[in-house]
């Protein structure tokens, strides 16, 4: 029996076995329940306010809007924009952004920001390991000393259905600004920031390589049909005992007996082993 058939046989059920189930009582009940749900296009939730006219938003463009599930949690606030990708509230002197798409069309975002007067803002959503706490990747670069941005992930799902991540930013930022946010990577998507490879759901879930020799660790990685890359963790002799990381070190420079400090995964089939050089090793220039 060939391997394809072997795999196929492990299916709990095949679609052919399910013929006719689309008309069962259970399927009917689910359908009835779903179509009774309000789809609530966002425009019905806007609070009437003369300020909308001042913002030039007399007719808010709503494209199959993100589903609003609750009023803004910040007291005096109102929704000023909604699209498939992003919902925007005005909250006092800030804007709150709720993202429902991990890879929003940059042109669409630019348009959204333009509508609320934030032409200088760019936002980048980067994929991070699903287990990383929300808000652990959040960056804000700006030239305006008075501008501030805050991660607002807690209010995310309470405000907008299917919300992935959220942040708040000063409304009248001067000069260019950029917000980087982590969002949970989709299955199979490469991470912008690494996971610990032993985390549940990661490539070496439950496998602890810390303390093993580089040679042993590399064998374990290959047994899992993954590739190995090396980083050297140089512990600097200064008072703070900083560590400097030397990346992309070829295997020829790794002594098989050196110890592994940790193993990282970017979810791309490669395990990055952080190896601690032995006492006799000399760091490269600049370290």
């Amino acid at each position: 029996m060939n391997n394809d058939q072997i795999f196929k046989d492990r299916a709990r059920v095949l679609d052919e076995d399910l013929a006719g189930r689309a008309s069962t009582a259970g399927a009917d009940a689910l359908l009835a329940e779903i179509v009774s749900l309000e789809r609530a296009p966002a425009r019905r939730r806007l609070l009437p306010s003369p300020r909308r006219a001042l913002l030039g938003m007399a007719a808010v463009a709503v494209l199959a809007g993100a589903i609003v599930v609750g009023p803004s949690l910040f007291g005096a606030s109102e929704q000023v924009y909604a699209s498939q990708a992003v919902t925007i509230d005005r909250v006092g002197d800030e804007y709150a952004f709720y993202f429902t798409e991990g890879n929003p069309d940059p042109a669409e975002l630019k348009k959204a920001f333009h509508q609320v007067g934030l032409d200088n803002l760019t936002v980048s959503l980067v994929p991070v390991p699903p287990r990383m706490p929300a808000g652990s990747v959040f960056g804000f670069e700006k030239s305006d000393p008075d501008a501030r941005a805050t991660f607002a992930g807690d209010s995310c799902p309470e405000r907008v259905e299917d919300c992935i991540t959220a942040f708040r930013v000063t409304a009248d930022i001067k000069g260019p600004a950029k917000v980087s946010l982590g969002r949970p990577a989709k299955p199979g998507e490469k991470y912008a920031f690494p996971a610990d490879a032993s985390w549940p759901g990661e490539a070496l879930a439950g496998v602890n390589l810390q303390g093993r020799s580089a040679a042993q660790a590399a064998d374990v990685v290959r047994e899992h049909h993954l590739k190995v890359a090396y980083v050297l963790d140089w512990r600097l002799p200064n008072d703070e005992k900083d560590t400097r990381f030397e990346k992309d070190v070829p295997a020829s420079r790794i002594d098989p007996d050196w110890q592994v400090a940790r193993a990282e995964s970017y979810n791309d089939g490669v395990i990055v082993l952080h190896v601690v050089p032995g006492p006799a090793a000399t760091p490269p220039p600049g370290f």
């Binding site: 709990r12 749900l37 490669v270």
Partner: protein, 183 residues
């Protein structure tokens, strides 16, 4: 588009794709309750985004993509079950009980467990859902070329895993650290 048009359109898509989305969920979820949740949540999202839902065959692939993300979300976090879809769950339970006409193949489950989730999902989309690389690319939101290459690699890894977990496997000597393996 009127509310009634949306409803008719949604019902048509629901009836046409229900068995396949049910199959997708049942094959991947370890309990009938989880499978019912995945099916329900997938179609709730489809209903709320009916304007986005493509027509025809592309609609089915879109739904697989949604089901996939729903399943990933469920696995990532402790989910509060919002409603119990009791009738649906009962119907699905029979599918879990009736499983055993496949003869137990020693070592196959172990080989499948060894596979990375993404490898297993690629093989599943190809062999269980019957999707070709172009269709897989749509579901995974990648290029057809990437899907094709990854599927090929997944097949090889499965073959290797089978060699190791089944009695006829040859032993593998450990390899020395010789060269850097590029990513």
């Amino acid at each position: 588009m009127s509310e009634q048009d949306d409803r008719s359109r949604f019902e048509a898509v629901y009836r046409r794709t229900y068995e396949q989305i049910l199959g997708y969920a049942v094959r991947r979820c370890s309990s009938p309750e989880d499978a019912a949740d995945v099916v329900a949540e997938t179609y709730v999202i489809a209903w709320k985004r009916i304007a986005e839902l493509p027509g025809g065959e592309a609609g089915r692939l879109w739904l697989y993509g949604v089901a996939r993300r729903v399943l990933a979300n469920h696995r990532r976090s402790e989910r509060r079950r919002l409603t119990r879809h009791t009738e649906l769950t009962d119907e699905i339970e029979h599918l879990y009980a009736a499983r055993s006409h496949h003869s137990e193949q020693h070592g196959v489950d172990e080989a499948m467990d060894v596979l990375a989730d993404s490898d297993r999902e690629l093989l599943a989309l190809n062999l269980w859902e019957g999707l070709d690389p172009g269709e897989i690319a749509t579901v995974l939101d990648c290029s057809r070329n990437a899907a094709s290459i990854r599927l090929h690699r997944a097949r090889k890894r499965f073959a290797k895993a089978l060699e190791k977990t089944r009695p006829s496997a040859a032993g593998f000597a450990s390899r020395p650290l010789i060269e850097k393996e590029s990513g």
